[in-house]
């Protein structure tokens, strides 16, 4: 590419080679300045622009650097083990927790809670959003209530939940359900209300019945927003899980963490934090995958 352009401008004498001619005229004319001739800009093919590391590697740089710094601080004793255990200690205690089966059991218990909370909250949030998104009557009855309730901090409800539901699984699942319902409600509702009116009109001229309209036009149109809502919901589900598990848990990652606190085992605490982070990452990855598959049709900007 580069050499091609350069050759062209050097072989200027032929009048058919465009750009060079105005330049010559510009020099001949006393009034026109040389700047009249437009400067040519090279259009860069993408293949040449892309350089350096592949993206997955690039994304790993930050976390790896963080762990490296942490490790250096630990082995040089800047960070004492009573404040924060080093990566090596954390790794070995993770291994021993895994060997005894404690870690797997805790992860399973926590995942189960998160999943059932999300299932309940998600069902409620999406159902309400569809009703108030589709029908004006539904909107009048539901939307203002949801907008009001959503400003109440979920965590502040823990004491009430304990009084109502005791200290077993129920209040924890309820907390997660409550926390996840709102982001899904808000985003699905916004998604439905943002569906392009011109497409709804077009669908109406195609003779779509109301259920067919909802299925083929409204819901697919709301899907991008719904997935954003799902992402938010998963985020707060984790948060609610951590809070919920601080309350008298007898199993789960939070329980493991509480126990570790009693014995100042910062290594186990860090193992639990890492587990939370990894689970969050995995779930995020799954949602990204979902987006890629379900939103393949979308002509959206994907970052420069």
């Amino acid at each position: 590419m580069t050499s091609g352009v350069a050759t062209l401008s050097r072989e200027a004498p032929s009048p058919t080679l465009g750009r060079a001619v105005p330049r010559l005229r510009a020099e001949a004319h006393p009034h026109a300045s040389v700047t009249d001739a437009p400067e040519l800009v090279l259009v860069q093919p993408e293949a040449e622009k892309r350089r350096g590391l592949p993206r997955p590697l690039r994304r790993a740089i930050g976390p790896v650097l963080l762990v490296a710094i942490w490790h250096v601080l630990s082995v040089t004793d800047v960070l004492s083990p009573t404040v924060l255990a080093g990566p090596a200690t954390v790794l070995s205690s993770a291994a021993s927790l895994w060997a005894t089966g404690e870690l797997q059991a805790a992860i399973l218990a926590s995942l189960g809670r998160a999943a059932s909370g999300l299932a309940i909250g998600g069902t409620i949030g999406v159902t309400l959003a569809v009703i108030s998104g589709l029908f004006r009557l539904g909107e009048d009855l539901i939307d203002s209530t949801m907008q009001m309730l959503r400003t109440v901090p979920n965590i502040a409800l823990i004491p009430l939940f304990i009084i109502w539901l005791g200290i077993g699984e129920a209040p924890k699942v309820a907390l997660i359900a409550l926390a996840t319902a709102f982001p899904l409600y808000l985003n699905v509702y916004a998604g439905i209300r943002n569906v392009d009116q011109t497409l709804v009109e077009a669908a109406r001229t195609l003779g779509l019945s109301r259920p067919a309209m909802i299925r083929h036009v409204i819901l697919p149109g709301a899907l991008p927003n719904a997935l954003v809502g799902l992402r938010y919901s998963l985020g707060v589900a984790w948060l609610a899980l951590v809070f919920g598990e601080q309350v008298n848990a007898t199993a789960g990652v939070g329980y493991l963490m509480n126990n570790a606190r009693e014995f100042f085992q910062t290594d186990v605490i860090v193992v639990c934090l890492v587990v939370y982070a990894l689970l969050g990452l995995i779930v995020d990855f799954i949602v990204r995958l979902l987006e890629r598959v379900l939103l393949a049709w979308r002509p959206a900007f994907s970052g420069a």
Binding site: T205, L206, G207, G221
Partner: protein
């Protein structure tokens, strides 16, 4: 209007008014389109052609006056309005009753020269391809009234001629009533039985085109009609000729 007359009609509009705020874009408009008649509607940009078409498509209810249209209608809008989440062929058959959808979609897409694009997402279509898809979606429905809002606007000259032939052919085969909104006087004269000129919210003129089909641009009657229409649109033939050159 007596009973027999209105029996022959595909569209009957009486005293139609549509206001946007204070401004009446359509102002006590009357319009009849006979069954099987091909009518072209021309008029300056913003004079209310699309508004009228939307009303005939039963999409705009903020009207006063009487509007009667057949149950089976199909519309190709000025913008293609394809569902971005459905592949091209599913867009064509969306809302179409009956089985064998894939085959019917393929046939309709073949007619507009898009067989090779039937599985792609609308986002990858060019402007003209999207418009042809939208045309295929309207044609596949076998309507009694076909409403076309500048459906050939984004097509190159050759594809445009092909698409015009396609619509003419379908019309001759099906004998559905057609209302074609266009900016192109020649297109109107090539296709229509009657050319309506819209101005100040009403049908200002209705000019029958009795030329034999298939029509030829070099027919002297054609040239005379063309001049008359351009005059009505306030374009002198001279300017139009220079533009075309």
């Amino acid at each position: 209007m007596n009973g027999r007359d209105s029996h022959d009609l595909a569209v009957r509009v009486r005293g139609l008014t549509r206001r946007f705020g204070e401004r009446a874009v359509i102002d006590t408009l009357d319009l009849d389109i006979r069954k099987g008649e091909f009518v072209a509607l021309i008029g300056a940009s913003g004079c209310g052609k699309s508004t009228l078409l939307r009303i005939l498509a039963d999409l705009d209810h903020g009207i006063t006056g009487e509007v009667r249209v057949p149950q089976r209608r199909a519309v190709a809008f000025q913008a293609p309005r394809l569902m971005p989440w459905k592949p091209v062929w599913r867009n064509v058959t969306l809302g179409l009753p009956g089985g064998d959808q894939r085959r019917r979609a393929e046939a309709a897409l073949a007619e507009v020269g898009l067989s090779h694009r039937s599985d792609v997402w609308p986002k990858v279509l060019s402007g003209g391809e999207a418009q042809r898809t939208s045309l295929a979606r309207a044609l596949v429905r076998d309507p009694d009234l076909l409403l076309l809002d500048e459906p050939f606007g984004a097509l190159d000259a050759l594809t445009r001629i092909k698409a015009q032939h396609l619509v003419a052919e379908l019309w001759q085969r099906r004998r559905c009533a057609v209302l074609l909104v266009t900016h192109d006087v020649e297109e109107a004269l090539l296709l229509a039985d009657r050319v309506l000129v819209m101005r100040e919210g009403v049908i200002a003129r209705s000019i029958p085109v009795t030329l034999e089909r298939p029509r030829r641009l070099d027919n002297p009657v054609f040239a005379a009609l063309r001049g008359e229409l351009l005059d009505l649109l306030g374009v002198s033939d001279d300017v139009a000729g220079r533009r075309a050159a």
